[in-house]
Symmetry: D2
Subunit: 207 residues, 4 copies
């Protein structure tokens, strides 16, 4: 898609925004529903899980704030509103289901904030923006699942709420490569930066 890249650049998309001095890490919905082959939401993201565990470790070492999101609904799905009606697979995420648990190696540590969300964006209907703002965060390292769903929605909202969204490619995944790549393209051109995990590492080291 070389010529698509060029077309976007000439049109004035894709300006590069520099990460700030006060980042936080946001790990989106890395829960067992996407990791267990028994679940219809299984996404085949074992490698991305391993990289997310690495990234989490580096962020803990760097001492930056860490946020974990997960999804949980009441038994009838009333809390999921129109989203729950649109995506029948969300019934896998009723409160108490083992599919709601965090992936192995991604369990929240003490002092890390868990955001229980009902919608695609980690910001929508949650206290994420207020917490980031009260902590003075300016940049959000983002990873998790899935690129075309909650990662994209959260990256767009990060930008909207005034934070610089930096998606870490290797630690972000989806059930199919095509929506994955299409959404990374959109994010990189209009909403934030998409970087490799080595660049994330260098950035953390530079703080």
């Amino acid at each position: 898609m070389v010529e698509l890249d060029q077309d976007y650049s000439q049109a004035g998309f894709g300006g590069s925004i520099q990460p700030g001095a006060r980042p936080a890490l946001l790990i989106i919905d890395f829960v067992r529903a996407y990791l267990d082959p028994e679940c219809s939401l299984y996404a085949g993201v074992e490698e991305e899980l391993a990289q997310a565990v690495n990234l989490l470790g580096e962020c803990r070492e760097a001492g930056i704030p860490v946020f974990h999101t997960c999804v949980e609904y009441d038994a009838a799905g009333v809390e999921g509103g129109v989203f729950y009606r649109k995506v029948p697979a969300l019934a896998n995420l009723v409160k108490g289901s083992p599919y709601c648990a965090f992936g192995e190696g991604l369990e929240p540590a003490e002092g890390e904030v868990v955001i229980v969300k009902k919608y695609p964006s980690a910001f929508f209907g949650t206290h994420l923006a207020a917490t980031l703002s009260s902590l003075g965060v300016d940049t959000l390292l983002i990873c998790g699942l899935t690129t075309s769903g909650c990662v994209r929605a959260s990256a767009v909202d990060a930008l909207q709420y005034g934070y610089i969204p930096i998606v870490v490619r290797e630690a972000t995944g989806d059930r199919d490569e095509r929506p994955h790549e299409a959404n990374l393209f959109d994010i990189s051109k209009k909403f934030g930066e998409v970087i490799g995990i080595d660049d994330a590492r260098r950035y953390l080291a530079s703080l």
Copy 2:
């Protein structure tokens, strides 16, 4: 993408949500920046404009509420926050620029609400959700520009805020077919319905 369709359906995506009894029309950013070949944002969407004019006419006849969005920034772009830094082309939309004007045939009529927004989503930082709610609207017919930017962000937010998003395909456009189709796919599977203008017409007639 037959097999991608099947994969999503089997996984429990793409449930069909029925439109409600109290729709409104939301026309997103159909402004001259995208219609004037002199502007870098020009998207070649003349046919989509014609269809949007048709759709607006039908909605007026049906007597449903109509919302128009446009984008306007202060000269320094402070109001555009991180978005303005990310997309240099937004400098075309500084208040007072002729590029901010609505496309021909899409000028707001008396009694129609104009939402001046700063970010991709028509809901973000605007009184759209409050107005829809106070009017008892339950469904949002959505058209406009661009599919991979403000239309997608607004459709996701419509769902999140509790409205049924119905994107009208022929009246929605983008500068390139690939992001256009990729985003209609994501919307149709996870966030709302994508319908043809003839179906929109039948729906309006059924009210």
Copy 3:
């Protein structure tokens, strides 16, 4: 305050808004922190509790949606942001504290939504507005604690989000009569209706 009433009326405040046809009940923070004399937040609202239990019973009989809010923070209070720094008494509401439990007779029933909030308004950083909207609610019967804190903030937000706020006087309380009355005055003049529990009963019967 007869002459204050008159001054406000002549100035064009206090227009009476009629309740709609699709109400929900919102019970705000009726938790043990305010009910247990051992806790510094104890507010002496035993009579209001009894009336809230009555109101809840009537709403269940009428079959309208019921929402309960409570407050819970992480051990460090990071989730409470600036609010937690401003009000040291919020340390009583760290997750796991018995003070977080609902008052006797106000335990949520199956199918009723529990909103765990971090801030004064029941709408702020929660999925309340989205759920109300997706259910087609137009009116919010409000009761709970405390008038000058979370009840006022929630009533103002109900109005802002497009819902008609109806505060039920006898089921709403505060630790001191003066802020209680001052805030009911403000609400009744600018943000919503303040009615007696008998009027609430008649309204529910009329649905």
Copy 4:
């Protein structure tokens, strides 16, 4: 109200939050509707206006970001939703009315952001929070009209969105002393700091 003060302090309200290093000024609704004795909203706040002009001058000298809010509705008041129905006096603020203009000496300068709002809170349905966040602001000096309406609602939201609200007493006013004082009391105990203009001056000098 000495004993009320004591009661609140002993209960754990009124913790003092220190202003941060990156403040902005928010001047709320200082428009002619409240300044012209012909308008029913006239509030008799000439002295407060003079002090707001002073405060604005000091903030400009200190070089901090300045935000001005005003209110404007469409002719039918649809944009005002339930608020417009509740407060008939808002009809004075239809777009184009001379009552919408800023008070003398408070006209926005180039580079200052104007927030056109529809609801009590300066944050609700506006891009204020996003702009503050993208600028790295941590503290909001607040003044304007009226204490029991838009100032209180904005101070509560400032706290909720993660900013330290500092209301400057002499530059803030209302049509009656009783709601004015009652709301300053609530703000000072639960939502923010209320300081004198001399303290504001010292704070600005200390930056």
